[in-house]
C-alpha cells in the first residue's frame, strides 16, 4: 500500500514537472485576434491586418473603463509572401502570442478579392487555431480601414461587424459555407460587402473630441465572385432580390404605394415564403421557372384603405407581388446581364434535374446561365394587419 501510494505521489509530482505545461497560456499572454483583414499590396505581397483586443481597456470588474478615451483594440498590419509569413512578421512586433480562436470576421480588400481568394483562405482552413465560423466580408476599399473603424455599440469594430452579420439583415456567409460554395460546381460564391460610413457628425462631442473623424462599418450588400475572383457588388435592394431568388432569407420589409392616395405608402413585413426553381431544357435552350410565394403582415399604413375588404386586400397582394418581382428582376439583370455569373444555385438545380445533360454544359455553365431565360411568378398573401383593422385614429 505504501509503495503504491508513494508511486502515485511520484506520478502526480512528475505530472507537474515533466508535462512542462506545453500548451499552457495564461490569458495575459494572449493577443486575442478579434478580426483579421487581408489586402494585396501593390507589389503583390499579402498584407495581414489584425485587430487585437486590449483587455485592459475593456471594462471588467472595478471602475468604469477607458472606453471612449482609448480604443479597446490595437490594429496592426504586417506584410509577407503568404498569410503565415505576414503573421510571423507581425509576431515580432506583438509581445503576446497571436490567438486566432476568437477571430469573428475575415475581411478581404477589393484588390485581394479581385486577385483571387483561394490562396488567402487556405491558411484559415488549414490552421487548427482559427475557426471556420468566421464571417467572410469583402470591402471595396482596404480591409485595414474596416478593422480600424470605430463602433458605438460594441467594444471593437470586429465584434460590431460580426453582430451585423449574425443578425442577417443582409447576406452573410461564414468561412465554411463560403468554401463549400467555392468548391461546388454550378454555383459561385458570394460574400457580404462591408463599407465605411462616416458618422463623426452623429457621434457628437460627448465621448470623443469633435475633431477626430470617426468611421463606422456598415453592411452594404453583396460581393459577387466569379469562381475565386471578385466580379462586382450588389447593392442592398439587389441583395434582397438575390436572397429571394436563392430562397434563403425570405424575410424583410417591402413597401408598396397606396392604391387610392398617391404619395402614401404601406409597409408589409414578410414573415415567411418559399422559392421554387424549376430548370427546363428542350435540347438546346435552358430556361428557369421561378415561383416565389411570400406571406406578409401589414405593419404600417399611411393611407386609409379598408384593408378588411377582400378587393382591397387582393389589390395590395398584387402590388406586393409586383414589388417583389421588380426587386428580383433587378437582381437578376445585374447577375445575369452584367456579371454573367450564376450565384443563384441555378446550376445545382439544373444538375439535379438533368444529370445527363450537365456534363456537357458544366464547363460553359456561366455562359449558358447568362443566356437562359427566367420566368418569374410571384404569389403574395397578406395575412394579418397587426393589432389594428383600420388606420389608427381614423374617425368612424
Amino acid at each position: 500500500m505504501k509503495k503504491l501510494l508513494s508511486c502515485l505521489l511520484l506520478l502526480i509530482f512528475m505530472a507537474g514537472i515533466l508535462s512542462g505545461c506545453w500548451s499552457r497560456k495564461e490569458l495575459s499572454e494572449l493577443a486575442i485576434v478579434l478580426g483579421a483583414g487581408i489586402d494585396r499590396t501593390p507589389d503583390g505581397q499579402v498584407m495581414l491586418t489584425l485587430q487585437l483586443a486590449k483587455p485592459s481597456t475593456i471594462t471588467g470588474g472595478w471602475g468604469g473603463g477607458a472606453r471612449g478615451i482609448e480604443p479597446s483594440a490595437w490594429v496592426v498590419s504586417g506584410t509577407g509572401k503568404t498569410v503565415l509569413d505576414a503573421q510571423k512578421r507581425l509576431a515580432t512586433r506583438i509581445s503576446r502570442s497571436i490567438y486566432w480562436a476568437h477571430s469573428a470576421i475575415l475581411v478581404f480588400g477589393e484588390e485581394a478579392a479581385r486577385y483571387g481568394i483561394r490562396r488567402y483562405i487556405d491558411f484559415f482552413l488549414r490552421s487548427p487555431y482559427s475557426r471556420e465560423t468566421m464571417w467572410i466580408m469583402v470591402t471595396n476599399g482596404e480591409a485595414k480601414d474596416i478593422l480600424e473603424a470605430y463602433s458605438e455599440m460594441e467594444n471593437t469594430s470586429a465584434q460590431d461587424i460580426a453582430n451585423l452579420a449574425r443578425s442577417r439583415t443582409g447576406y452573410s456567409v461564414n468561412l465554411k459555407d463560403f468554401t463549400i460554395m467555392l468548391a461546388n460546381q454550378g454555383t459561385n460564391p458570394i460574400a457580404s460587402r462591408i463599407d465605411l460610413i462616416d458618422y463623426s457628425i452623429n457621434s457628437g462631442g460627448l465621448t470623443r473630441a469633435k475633431s477626430v473623424m470617426q468611421k463606422g462599418a456598415i453592411l452594404t450588400g453583396t460581393a459577387v465572385f466569379h469562381d475565386e475572383t471578385l466580379a462586382g457588388f450588389l447593392d442592398e435592394s439587389e441583395t434582397q432580390g438575390l436572397l429571394w431568388l436563392r430562397g434563403e432569407t425570405l424575410k424583410g420589409i417591402i413597401s408598396v404605394s397606396s392604391l387610392t392616395e398617391p404619395g402614401k405608402e404601406m409597409s408589409i413585413n414578410i414573415i415567411r415564403g418559399a422559392t421554387e426553381v424549376q430548370p427546363q431544357y428542350d435540347g438546346e435552350s435552358v430556361w428557369f421557372d421561378v415561383k416565389i410565394v411570400i406571406e406578409g403582415d401589414l405593419w404600417e399604413q399611411q393611407s386609409g384603405e379598408e384593408i378588411m375588404e377582400r378587393q382591397v386586400r387582393k389589390a395590395i397582394e398584387e402590388e406586393m407581388a409586383g414589388e417583389v418581382e421588380d426587386k428580383v428582376r433587378l437582381a437578376l439583370e445585374k447577375v445575369q446581364g452584367e456579371y454573367k455569373v450564376d450565384i443563384l444555385n441555378f446550376g445545382e438545380s439544373f444538375h439535379r434535374k438533368y444529370p445527363k445533360v450537365w456534363p456537357k454544359l458544366k464547363d460553359s455553365w456561366d455562359e449558358v446561365f447568362a443566356g437562359s431565360g427566367v420566368n418569374i411568378t410571384v404569389e403574395a398573401h397578406l395575412r394579418r394587419s397587426g393589432l389594428e383593422t383600420k388606420r389608427t385614429s381614423e374617425k368612424e
Binding site: C21, E26, L27, P55, G61
Partner: protein, 547 residues
C-alpha cells in the same frame, strides 16, 4: 437512566473473544486465557464486610469520589450493612429514599415468624426492602467494582459473601436539543444526546416494535464505553449484523471517546478519502436507516450514531426529502448533485479553461475575464489555489474561533479577501466569485461527503493546472474507479448506480412519491423487501352523479 444489566453479558461475551495479550495498558490487571463460564478475575467476596470494604478501598484507592456508607440494619442492629457508590454518578434522592430509608428506617416490615439471620438477610432485603427497579446479586468483587464505576450503588452485608447491585444511576446530562449540524425546515428537530440510554429510547420511541433489537457490548479497555448495536430483525440482513458484530469484537483499544474511533476501526477501506460509515445525530435519520435494513451503532458519550452500510448516493439525501413533497424534494436533489459537481470541479474547470482551452469561452466572456486578469500577477492556477486555500482557512477558523470574535473574522474575511484583494489587483473578481460559489455549494449536501469533496478538489486543481481538461477528466475517472471499488459492509458503495438496480433509482437523483417506492433499497440479502402496499396512489372519490 434506567440501565438494564446488559452490560455484564456483553462484557463476558467480549472477553471470550480477546484471548490475546493486549492488556498491558489497561488499568485492571485482567488475567488472560479464560474459559467462557468463569468470571474473569476470579476473586469472590468474603463473608466479612470489613474485608470486602478493605479490598474495594484498595482497588479504588485515591478515588475521592467514592462514598462508603456503613450503617446498621433497622431490624437487627447486629447486621452491619455498607453502601458503596460514586458521588455524582448516582441519583442521590434514589439512594437515600429507596435504599437507605427503607433499610435504616422502614425495615421492620417482616412477615410473622420470619427470622432474620445473617445468611438470609439478603434474600429478605431483595424481596421486600429495596423499592428500586433493578437489582442484581453478585458474589464477585470485580463485578462490584465495575458496578460502582458504572454508577450503581452496591450494598454489602456483613456475614454474607455477596453484594446487591442497585440501579441508581443518575448523573447530570444535556437535555435533548435541536440538531446543530443537520438542520431541516420540516421534520423532527430533536437530536441525540451524550447518554446512550436516552439515545436508544429516542429510537425506540420512533419504532415501537419487538423486532427492534438493541444489543449491548462494552469497548475500550480503560474507558469501558457502552456500545449498542441496533437493528430491526426481519428487515436487516443477518450477514450484515454478524459482520458488524465481528468487526466490533475485533476492536481492542484503550478508549472509545467518540463514534469516530469505531468508524475508523470498522470501515472497509480506511485509506479512502470517502466515508463508508454514516454518522448522524438525527434520530429520525437513524430510524429511517434501520427501516431500510441497516445497522446502527450507538456509543455512550456522543450524540453521533453510526449506521452501516452507507451508499454514496446518501450524500445528497436529506431526511427532509422524505417529508417534503416529492416534486420539490426531487428538484432539491438535482440541485445537490449539481452542487456536488460544482464544489468538486468548478475551480479546476476554471483553471483548465482559462489556461489551456480559451477557445471554449464565448468571446465576450473571454474578453471580460482577460480584462479582470490583466492586473493579476499570478497564473490562474496559483491564484485559484491560493484563494481556495484562503477559503479553507476562513472556514476552519470559523469553526474553531470563540463566538466573541466571530464577527471580526467574518468581516475581515469578507472585506479583505473579497474586496480588497480584487481592488488591489491581486485576485480577479471572477476567481473570488468562483471560490465563493464552490465553498457555498459544498454545504448543500451531507457534511461527511463535503469533507471528501473538499479534500479531492485540490489534487484535481493540480491536475487541471498541469494537464488542462485532460487532467480533470483523468482525475474524475480515477475518483469514479475508486468509488466503484469501494464497499461498505459488503454493499457496493455506488449501488444502486454501479451495480445498476433500476428499482433503487427511484431514490437517487429524484425522490419518487411514497406510493411508488414499494420496496426497500436493495442491500445485502434483501430480507423482506416490501415496504409500501401496492395501489396507494391517492385519487379523488368517484363523482356523486355517476354512482
Amino acid at each position: 437512566m434506567r440501565f438494564i444489566k446488559f452490560i455484564r453479558r456483553g462484557m463476558s461475551g467480549r472477553r471470550k473473544s480477546d484471548s490475546g495479550q493486549q492488556d498491558n495498558g489497561s488499568k485492571n490487571q485482567k488475567k488472560e486465557n479464560l474459559t467462557a463460564n468463569q468470571e474473569p478475575r476470579n476473586q469472590d467476596l468474603s463473608s466479612d464486610l470489613q474485608t470486602n470494604l478493605r479490598q474495594i478501598r484498595a482497588i479504588l484507592s485515591e478515588c475521592s469520589d467514592v462514598i462508603y456508607r456503613e450503617f446498621d440494619f433497622a431490624q437487627d442492629e447486629r447486621i452491619k450493612l455498607a453502601l458503596v457508590y460514586l458521588d455524582g454518578m448516582v441519583d442521590k434522592t434514589r439512594v437515600s429514599d429507596q435504599i437507605m430509608h427503607s433499610l435504616m428506617l422502614d425495615a421492620p416490615l417482616v412477615e410473622q415468624g420470619e427470622e432474620f439471620t445473617r445468611t438470609r438477610v439478603f434474600a429478605i432485603i431483595k424481596k421486600r426492602l429495596l423499592p428500586i427497579q433493578q437489582i442484581e446479586e453478585t458474589n464477585n468483587l470485580d463485578q462490584v467494582i465495575d458496578a460502582v464505576l458504572a454508577g450503581d450503588a452496591v450494598l454489602l452485608a456483613d456475614g454474607c459473601a455477596c453484594a446487591v447491585i442497585n440501579d441508581a444511576k443518575g448523573w447530570e446530562s444535556r437535555s435533548i436539543e435541536e440538531s446543530q449540524t443537520e438542520l431541516v425546515v420540516r421534520g423532527p428537530r430533536e437530536a441525540f444526546v451524550e447518554t446512550l440510554r436516552v439515545n436508544t429510547s429516542l429510537i425506540r420511541r420512533k419504532i415501537k416494535n419487538p423486532n427492534l433489537k438493541i444489543e449491548a457490548m462494552k469497548l475500550g479497555q480503560i474507558t469501558k464505553t457502552d456500545i449498542a448495536i441496533v437493528y430491526i430483525k426481519g428487515i436487516v440482513s443477518e450477514q450484515v449484523v454478524t459482520e458488524v458484530k465481528e468487526r466490533l469484537n475485533r476492536i481492542n483499544i484503550d478508549s472509545i471517546l467518540e463514534t469516530g474511533y469505531i468508524e475508523e476501526l470498522v470501515e472497509d477501506n480506511p485509506l479512502s478519502p470517502f466515508c463508508t460509515v454514516l454518522h448522524t445525530e438525527r434520530p429520525d435519520k437513524v430510524a429511517a436507516q434501520l427501516l431500510e435494513g441497516r445497522v446502527a451503532i450507538l456509543v455512550d458519550g456522543t450524540p453521533y450514531v453510526l449506521t452501516v452500510p452507507l451508499l454514496f448516493v446518501e450524500a445528497i439525501q436529506s431526511p427532509e426529502d422524505y417529508y417534503e413533497r416529492p416534486m420539490f424534494s426531487s428538484a432539491m436533489r438535482l440541485l445537490r448533485w449539481f452542487s456536488m459537481i460544482i464544489s468538486l470541479l468548478a475551480p479546476s474547470l476554471y483553471i483548465a479553461i482559462i489556461t489551456f482551452h480559451h477557445e471554449m469561452l464565448p468571446t465576450a466572456l473571454l474578453l471580460s475575464l482577460a480584462a479582470q486578469r490583466e492586473t493579476v500577477p499570478f497564473p490562474a492556477f496559483v491564484e485559484t489555489f491560493m484563494m481556495e486555500f484562503v477559503f479553507e482557512i476562513l472556514r476552519e477558523a470559523g469553526i474553531r474561533l470563540p463566538r466573541q470574535v466571530g464577527q471580526a473574522v467574518s468581516i475581515v474575511g469578507a472585506l479583505v479577501i473579497g474586496q480588497a484583494a480584487v481592488q488591489a489587483g491581486l485576485v480577479a473578481a471572477g476567481t473570488v466569485i468562483l471560490v465563493a460559489l464552490t465553498g457555498i455549494a459544498s454545504f448543500t449536501f451531507c457534511y461527511y461527503a463535503s469533507t471528501s469533496i473538499r479534500l479531492l478538489r485540490f489534487p484535481i486543481m493540480v491536475l487541471a493546472g498541469t494537464l488542462g481538461l485532460y487532467g480533470v477528466i483523468c482525475g474524475v475517472l480515477a475518483i469514479l474507479v475508486h468509488l466503484a471499488t469501494l464497499r461498505s459492509f459488503g454493499v457496493p458503495y455506488l449501488s444502486p448506480l454501479a451495480p445498476l438496480n433500476t428499482g433503487g433509482l427511484k431514490d437517487v437523483a429524484v425522490r419518487m412519491p411514497w406510493w411508488t417506492m414499494l420496496r426497500r433499497p436493495r442491500l445485502v440479502g434483501m430480507v423482506n423487501p416490501q415496504r409500501v402496499a401496492r395501489g396507494l396512489k391517492p385519487a379523488p372519490p368517484p363523482a356523486r352523479g355517476k354512482r
